[in-house]
Symmetry: C2
Subunit: 133 residues, 2 copies
DNA sequence: GTACTTTCTATAGTGACTATAGGAGCAAGG
DNA sequence: CCTTGCTCCTATAGTCACTATAGAAAGTAC
């Protein structure tokens, strides 16, 4: 397991260099050891952890949720109820957001369908936004 | 049409006082006239405009999109092609986001379903996030 | 040895607000 | 008239999850 520069870690994980440093500053990544010239160097564990973080972020989890999951990860033999809880709560949020967006998209489709592109004062889009529908 | 304080405008529109001042600072609302004691006062036009802004924000439109729509509103007899364009683009974004979230929710449901709550090291939620699924 | 790239720190900017501090105006009760 | 308490004022900083920029030092490639 050879040492990785921050740039190499970035390539391997798809997380930008600046973002890696940012993750360190907010405590998602531990401060790595440094070379003589003060450069950070990383190992396989950092790759794993960073991929975990990246995927969690892609799933829309907040930093705090990710920190909880990362803490969980340290105790492999414990039960994972916290993970279930975090995932369930997050799923609820996602489902809620989908419902909202579905309603919104439906509404947009209706008013776009109605709009003939003629005049601003009768435009159903603008009428809708004005609130005097 | 009597003059409204910022607090009354806030009540009528459901937009917080601080947010009204914020909207003024970013140019979504014109700076209103002031009383002798330097308080802002508003009229019906401000209520209408603010409701328009609030509804547009609820629809997830950005400040810039709202500014374009508000400019449009000033020319009631012009055709409303810009409004159509903004609405279409936004609908596309919403639909894209819905697809992403649907996929995400499905994935969460699968891994939650699989999770027996036993141990961290075998927890399907954490396995999924680790990326070695 | 020089030119280029990567990395370093520190700071500021993004969007769309929200929160806080410290004053000043104003309406109502005593 | 005066105090109490609410609303309002400005200005500044904080939120989240980054992104961008500046200026300097270190490493690499020819």
């Amino acid at each position: 397991m050879k040492a990785l520069t921050i740039g190499r870690l970035s390539e391997l994980t798809g997380v930008k260099v600046v973002t890696i440093r940012y993750y360190e500053s907010v405590g998602l990544l531990p401060p790595p050891p440094r070379t003589e010239g003060n450069r950070r160097f990383y190992g396989q564990a950092d790759v794993d952890r960073l991929v975990f973080i990246r995927r969690s972020r892609e799933f829309g989890l907040s930093s705090e949720a990710i920190k909880s999951l990362l803490t969980l990860e340290l105790n492999q033999k414990q039960p994972c109820h916290s993970a279930i809880h975090i995932a369930q709560e997050h799923l609820k949020e996602i489902e809620h957001r989908i419902m909202e967006l579905d309603a919104l998209a439906g509404y947009f489709r209706v008013i776009l369908d109605r709009c003939t592109g003629e005049r601003v004062d009768t435009c159903p889009i603008l009428v809708a936004l004005r609130g005097n529908t």
